[in-house]
């Protein structure tokens, strides 16, 4: 006698709603901050909330006192007039979160104090503790740790 095969419903993998990114690299060192910004933009577009935990040199990315220097005259046709600083792009992504998925950008308190940039953090960046990092990791569906390498 033929028996019906019971097929248990297979649950679809849960969609990621929250991503935590741990970043320790500053600009002018490695490409990692640029890659993180490219990725954060795409994740926000997909409705994913993102927490970036910046520590070590990465806390200088949100230094509000960065200056856009002129590019060399001979290269301005190719590169543009000024060399934009990365803080501006972070600011734009944080502001984008006002009307959609949210980006929290948190700079480690110990790292900002050691580098003297605690009072130079731009509006929108939050100075946080390792306790915040722990909560980010607990709350995230995925944690991406960008390695620091020399």
């Amino acid at each position: 006698m033929a028996t019906a095969t019971a097929t248990a419903p297979v649950a679809a993998p849960a969609k990621t709603k929250k991503v935590a990114i741990v970043l320790a690299t500053a600009s002018y060192q490695r490409e990692a901050p640029t890659t993180v910004l490219r990725l954060v933009e795409k994740l926000l577009q997909r409705g994913v909330d993102v927490n970036v935990w910046a520590f070590e040199e990465a806390v200088t990315l949100t230094n509000k006192d960065q200056i856009d220097h002129n590019e060399p005259g001979s290269l301005q046709k190719v590169l543009g007039e000024k060399h934009p600083n990365i803080g501006r792009f972070i600011d734009q992504l944080i502001r984008a979160g006002l009307h959609g998925a949210k980006l929290d950008w948190v700079s480690c308190i110990l790292c900002v104090q050691e580098r003297g940039v605690e009072k130079h953090q731009m509006g929108g960046a939050i100075v946080g503790t390792l306790g915040d990092l722990w909560k980010f990791i607990k709350a995230a569906d995925k944690v991406i740790c960008i390695p620091t390498y020399r």
């Binding site: 993998p13 969609k15 990621t16 991503v19 490695r30 490409e31 990692a32 890659t35 490219r38 990725l39 795409k42 994740l43 577009q45 997909r46 994913v48 995925k142 944690v143 991406i144 740790c145 960008i146 390695p147 390498y149």
Partner: protein, 108 residues
């Protein structure tokens, strides 16, 4: 079976650990997992057609892993031809993989 996304941002020939990340990808695939190796930043250097390490990545793809190279990283390095089995992707694709196409993300 789990779906692994391994993002390689380093030049695989620059660090001795580069060979281990390829081994990890291969072993995870052999163990029946779904594996995507996404090359970005200097990671795409290994994807250039004709390079020795590109052959390893082609082999990895023959064994069933997906090997993808980020388009902007390739363009920044003048890489126009990829080794066999490596496809060109974008950060859009990477975001999709993170959001819906993977269970675990390893960033190397």
């Amino acid at each position: 079976m789990a779906r692994y996304l391994i993002v390689d941002s380093r030049d695989l020939t620059e660090y001795t650990s580069g060979r281990y990340i390829q081994k990890v990808a291969g072993k995870l695939k052999e163990s029946g997992n779904d594996v995507t190796l996404f090359l970005i930043e200097n990671g795409v250097i290994a994807a250039r057609k004709g390079g020795e390490i590109g052959k390893n990545l082609s082999d990895l793809s023959k064994r069933g892993a997906k090997v993808v190279a980020d388009d902007i990283s390739c363009r920044a390095r003048g890489i126009t031809q990829l080794a066999e089995g490596i496809t060109q992707g974008s950060v859009d694709q990477l975001a999709d993989l993170i959001v819906e196409g993977s269970d675990k993300v390893i960033w190397y």
